[in-house]
């Protein structure tokens, strides 16, 4: 990453009639970054992506991609973007080959360049010669990935890209993305699968009900969320209070706390208790995500 901003979204708001799609969303994505865009279904991820691609026009706010206004330079920007929609759909009357040839023609690139992608994603000639309506969801998703990556775009916008891929193929796809990142490609990765975002992304924006409720590096998010501490006492000691930790679960002798501050006072308090066993774990993004949602609800 060189600090150069590839996407600059500034106070984006989109209303559909009276109902709100997204509300005052701002974020930047740097060149060579894999940027996670996390949120549950209906949070506003797809609306944001469609505004980035000039498919939807924002009610207010502005987006710049490659330092150019999306509305004014839509065509030029899309030449340098690859996009995989959340519900990828190809023309049913075309074979995979024909569909990709059509996309190649529109992108103005030679179709032959895709052999390596076909090999990596295990798409055989017979798969490619089937009508797209005959392909399984996973196979179709591979076609979608190829059409997004076939022209070596400077920016990849991926909306729930691993839907339908089996675990092995997901790993291949992650490798491909990391290789693209090495080449300097910027990747905007929308997902509700937190573990893959954790695996790939350098920074994450968390979106909820159309608003960005968190925007951190993945590491910072984890640090903020602290660690999960699980211990077992000799018997049930009732509700416990530990400075610098927040109780999340208590069942009989088993206690689960989330560490939010320094660990020294926690250990000091534990030393006073008849602890039979104890473990510390870093929380996954799932836990962080749930905490973000819980915090927002509390507010």
């Amino acid at each position: 990453m060189n600090g150069k901003k590839v996407i600059q979204a500034d106070q984006l708001t989109k209303f559909y009639g009276q109902s709100r799609g997204i509300d005052n969303i701002s974020f930047d994505v740097e060149q060579g970054e894999i940027f996670g865009f996390l949120g549950p279904n209906g949070a506003g991820k797809t609306t944001t992506i469609r505004i980035l691609l000039d498919l939807l026009r924002p009610s207010s706010g502005e987006v710049r991609i490659f330092d150019r206004d999306v509305r004014m330079n839509s065509f030029g920007i899309r030449q340098r973007c690859g996009y995989l929609p959340g519900k990828f759909s190809a023309y049913h009357n075309l074979t995979g080959n024909q569909f990709l040839k059509l996309v190649s023609k529109i992108k103005n690139i030679p179709y032959q360049n895709n052999a390596e992608l076909f090999r990596r994603l295990e798409l055989s000639e017979s798969d490619l010669n089937k009508k797209t309506k005959e392909l399984s969801h996973g196979m179709l998703q591979k076609i979608g990935i190829i059409q997004a990556m076939m022209h070596q775009p400077g920016l990849l916008i991926l909306d729930e890209p691993t839907t339908g891929l089996d675990p092995l193929m997901k790993e291949v796809f992650y490798e491909l993305l990391l290789e693209e990142q090495q080449k300097g490609t910027t990747i905007f990765f929308s997902s509700h699968n937190l573990s893959e975002v954790e695996k790939l992304c350098t920074r994450v924006a968390i979106i909820r009900q159309g608003k960005v409720v968190g925007l951190e590096t993945t590491e910072e998010l984890k640090r903020k969320a602290g660690q999960m501490m699980e211990f077992q006492l000799d018997r049930n000691h009732g509700e416990l209070e530990i400075p610098g930790a927040e109780a999340t679960l208590h069942r009989d002798q088993l206690y689960l706390f989330r560490l939010t501050g320094d660990i020294a006072p926690v250990l000091k308090r534990l030393a006073e208790l008849p602890v039979k066993s104890m473990s510390l774990e870093k929380p996954g993004l799932e836990d962080i995500f749930m905490n973000y949602y819980k915090d927002q609800k509390a507010k």
């Binding site: 498919l55 026009r57 065509f75 899309r78 996009y83 929609p85 075309l94 023609k105 529109i106």
Partner: protein, 266 residues
């Protein structure tokens, strides 16, 4: 594969069917006219009709059942008009409304493919498809006239005028369907709307011809500017009809560009 080829591939089946059907239909009508004394037969039917209907049918159909008139009648038969209307309505609905609904439009417009270019290429492809069907219909008419009768230069020119007239009429039908497709949400609504408008205009055309109080509506009816029998009888207003149909098409095409460029997808 180019976008033109894609549109052609998606519509080739029904296009071929329409070509073959209309071509055979033209040949069949001209064959019937040479085989039976249809004029005498139909004249006796005509005598039974109320006076107003008699004048209309005489103008529109029966007096033209001379051999050359039959060639024009082939272009004005409801089956032929219905087939061409289906082609004209289906293409924009399939490639705009249905694609918006299925999500392929979102994918296409995320590519370096401008909205104006998409509308223009789709419109042009539909023109080519309609043009091909009408060309085959014209050639079959010309061929049938030559086989069953005798082809004169003036008849040839009149068939070319009629072909141009019907081509412009259905380009207009296709263009207002395109406008409906780019203005409405995805799905089949634009097709239903366009079919309904076409049918109502067609019915109003007959009502206007048959009922004096409604005659004024003919000026606002696109079917009034499609007059194959009049062209064949030498009474057509080809420049007026061409001007009005072309003008309306251009206006609707520009409005379609404008609307599609500004709308949200989906």
């Amino acid at each position: 594969m180019s976008y033109f080829r894609f549109i052609w591939k998606s519509n080739s089946g029904f296009t071929f069917f329409s070509m073959v059907f209309i071509a055979l239909f033209q040949v069949m009508i001209l064959y019937l006219v040479t085989t039976f004394d249809t004029q005498a037969m139909l004249k006796s039917v005509l005598e039974q009709m109320p006076p107003r209907l008699k004048i209309f049918l005489d103008d529109a159909f029966f007096s033209t059942l001379t051999f050359d008139g039959a060639a024009a009648f082939g272009f004005n038969h409801p089956i032929v008009l219905a087939l061409l209307a289906i082609v004209a309505i289906t293409i924009p609905v399939k490639h705009i409304s249905r694609e918006i609904e299925s999500g392929t439009m979102e994918l296409m417009l995320s590519q370096p493919f401008s909205r104006k270019s998409l509308v223009w290429k789709l419109w042009l492809s539909a023109c080519v498809i309609l043009g091909m069907i009408i060309l085959v219909a014209s050639l079959s008419s010309i061929l049938a006239v030559q086989i069953f009768h005798q082809l004169h230069v003036d008849v040839l020119i009149k068939i070319i005028y009629i072909s141009l007239n019907i081509f412009l009429l259905f380009i207009l039908v296709m263009t207002y369907t395109l406008f409906a497709a780019v203005s409405t949400k995805g799905g089949g609504f634009s097709g239903s709307l366009s079919a309904m408008i076409t049918l109502i205009l067609y019915l109003l055309f007959f009502v206007g011809k048959l009922w004096d109080p409604m005659e004024v509506t003919l000026h606002f009816n696109i079917f009034n500017y499609y007059q194959p029998q009049n062209i064949m009888l030498g009474n057509g207003s080809i420049f007026r009809d061409t001007g009005i149909l072309t003008g309306l098409t251009i206006i609707l095409l520009v409005l379609s560009w404008h609307r599609f460029d500004r709308r949200d997808i989906p």
